[in-house]
């Protein structure tokens, strides 16, 4: 299912336990490093990098492929994708093969064929969103920075209760 609403994205982030970041860089200036580092230091998810060109990021092992990750850890709950849109169809095929539950395409990673493929295979799909921004939308991070989270509620946050 393509998750289009904030409530759907929030539910995905809350029920998931493991994240594999495909294309995570070890260059601190790259957005993929920023997102990886944010998710790692939140200590909310078991996090891993998928990148055949590097061995590790900040001490976290980088796997050469999704299949190699799955062999060691089982399928990740979310695959977070930083890849060229033209290169993501094989990745979705690999995600389906390892039994991933959700695939998250970062800003600009838009490939209609890949989206349809993942959707048809029963994966939850998020498109053209940032996993760091969406996490921060629901955990109060955006609000701390004066950013418009869109959250309106008179319920007390459960995470701090």
């Amino acid at each position: 299912m393509i998750l289009e609403t904030p409530a759907q994205r929030r539910a995905l982030l809350e029920r998931s336990k493991s994240v594999a970041v495909v294309g995570a860089s070890n260059n601190p200036l790259r957005p993929s490093y920023t997102v990886f580092s944010y998710l790692r230091t939140q200590h909310r998810y078991a996090i891993a990098a998928i990148n055949p060109t590097i061995a590790q990021i900040d001490g976290v092992v980088a796997y050469p492929s999704l299949s190699a990750y799955a062999q060691a850890n089982g399928a990740p709950d979310i695959i977070d994708v930083f890849r060229k849109p033209s290169e993501v169809v094989p990745l979705v095929q690999e995600a389906i093969a390892v039994g991933a539950k959700a695939i998250w395409f970062q800003y600009g990673v838009i490939n209609e064929e890949a989206i349809a493929l993942a959707d048809k295979a029963g994966l939850d799909v998020v498109v053209d969103r940032c996993m760091k921004v969406e996490s921060a939308r629901f955990n109060g991070g955006l609000s701390m920075t004066g950013l418009n989270s869109g959250i309106i509620t008179s319920r007390r946050s459960e995470t701090h209760a």
């Binding site: 790259r30 957005p31 230091t41 939140q42 921060a136 920075t145 004066g146 950013l147 418009n148 869109g150």
Partner: protein, 419 residues
Amino acid sequence: MQDRSFGFATRSIHAGSPPDPTTGARATPIYQTAAFVFGTTEQAAELFQLRSYGHIYSRISNPTVSAFEERMASLEGGLGGIAFSSGLAAQLCTVLALAQSGDHILSSQNIYGGTVTQFSITLRRMGIEASFAPVEDFAALEAAIRPNTKLLFAETIGNPSGTLADLDALAKLAHKHGIPLVVDNTFASPYLCRPIEHGADIVVHSATKFISGHGTTMGGIMVESGRFDFGSGKFPLLSEASPGYHNKVFTETFGEYAFLMRSRAEVLRDVGAQMSPMDAWILMLGLETLPLRMEAHVRNAKAIVAYLEARPEVEWVRAPEMGSIFTFGIRGGREAGRRFIDSLELWSHLANVGDAKSLVIHPASTTHSQLNDDEMRKAGVAPEAVRLSVGLEDVADLTWDLGNALEASQRGALAESAR
């Protein structure tokens, strides 16, 4: 959590202010603290590298101030906001986020005198040059755009002229030349006009006016849409490695958040014109009643305009189609204006607008008193012009006071002509 697009009045009260996560306090607490304790050194490092969200030091961000910023961003329909110590600080920091020595900015000339001074004197001393053209003269504005022009600035409702800016057309013009449109929306407030809906990229306010609503608090806010492409190469402050922040390339690391992140992490940090938590709290209290107050301001202003138009002592009334601040001309020029002001009992004679209290100022005897009549007309201010900011009192009381003062304004003239 439910998915819903909440209305303006709901967001005026709730945006940015869920119950306090620590205590459950329903009103956003005043976090009157200079600094915030880090969790671990790892968390501290992540914060300083702008990879994680959180508060470090109240010059850069503070929970009470952030709540105000988010509420304003929601009301203006922007990506985020940054609060400042005043409206002038908000627009100065907006310019400094985009322009540096050797650059140029273009502005409507139908704007607040204090902004003209900031742009034409203070910025010039810093090496940033400003040009001005009439807000409705698109040919003159376009002709004034240079290769090094970094922004186009205008006021939704010009102060004090009341000239309305055609924001859609100005945005089109700015974007044609690859520059953002910056709009001062102070006189309209987001209740009457949301410039981002008309193509503006950045909105600034003096929050001292309708946002405060009660003439109690100095403040400024800048809201950005997140839609403008600052990575075009025209804005090296955002798209080239920043020596002021770990050589970060803001457009590369932050995408649509680049402008807001750099404006906070570098400009606000280095200029130090932050809003205080106490002031943010008062301004949020003001925002809760913004829709109610703006309706009443506009209703009262319409009644006052109609009253003045029927008075024989009034030569002209120049009221914009929007808002509650306007000018009128009094028969008898500068002297009659002076007698009018001196005879008012209820209207407050002071240099501010957007208060619950009705306010009046006579430029010829105050802000422009050093100019002769010809010089004043050149500056766009008639000697007989009186500016009103209509408040929330009973209209009958306001017109009672105006009527008495208008009569008194002519008595001196009669006495003089009888002499």
